[in-house]
Symmetry: C2
Subunit: 117 residues, 2 copies
DNA sequence: TCAGTATATTCGAATAATCGAGTATACGAA
DNA sequence: TTCGTATACTCGATTATTCGAATATACTGA
């Protein structure tokens, strides 16, 4: 049983292990949004959004509701928001002492990946 | 800054996105352990353990301390334990209502990948 | 120095994740 | 039915993760 629990947790973590998917979950924090609203709000490709939403669905992180020809997504459990909040605090507490963070962020720069706003 | 925060979170999640690494973090819950103790306790290959520990180190999830011949690992921040606890509660609350969980768990057993929607 | 123990790293193969482009499906309105 | 919109899925290429095996490094004690 413990093993199943660990697999379950790792699936949740895997589901959240991408910046875009975190952005999606955070965007849903205050309530459901249609896939289209998410795409617009996050400025991502439609196909990409759909793929990430499929991942979130498969890990049971979000649930979807169909209304007419749109699909509304919402977070399945508030616990996940709690988790993100804990990590936000963790991030800032680390920031004050950790210069390694700079390394981590710089690692993103040199390669063709451009981001970093 | 929001972007960096999301990348940070996703790195943490990625670091925890493997059952073995979750087992390691849980084993460290009550205090530091040497790499050897972890290997024995979790019954995993030495090289594999070392690789997973390297991941956890690179994501700043654990810190290591060298003492003579051995290396002791501990969790960098209690926040991560909190996160695991939240997910444990989440798991059990889902269990009572979610039959999909069984599918998820069954998927882990035999080799053939079933694709269900 | 050498031998033994503890841990880390490298290698190569297998698997999985990711992306954009293209295509398919579902729905509402005409 | 057909059209237009919203969303999902498939494909192929690229990159990342994972594993065990082998090797390397670091430390201790003789």
């Amino acid at each position: 049983m413990t093993d199943a629990l660990r697999r379950f947790k790792s699936e949740i973590f895997q589901g959240l292990a991408h910046p875009t998917r975190i952005a999606i979950v955070e965007a849903l924090r205050d309530g459901e949004l249609s896939a289209g609203s998410l795409i617009e709000k996050l400025d991502i490709e439609q196909a990409n959004a759909s793929q990430h939403l499929a991942v979130l669905r498969s890990k049971q992180i979000v649930v979807s509701r169909k209304a007419g020809n749109q699909v509304f997504y919402s977070i399945r459990d508030q616990a996940l928001i709690e988790v993100l909040d804990i990590l936000r605090r963790y991030f800032y507490s680390q920031l004050s002492t950790s210069v390694d963070m700079m390394k981590e962020m710089a690692r993103q720069g040199p390669k063709p990946r451009i981001r970093m706003r």
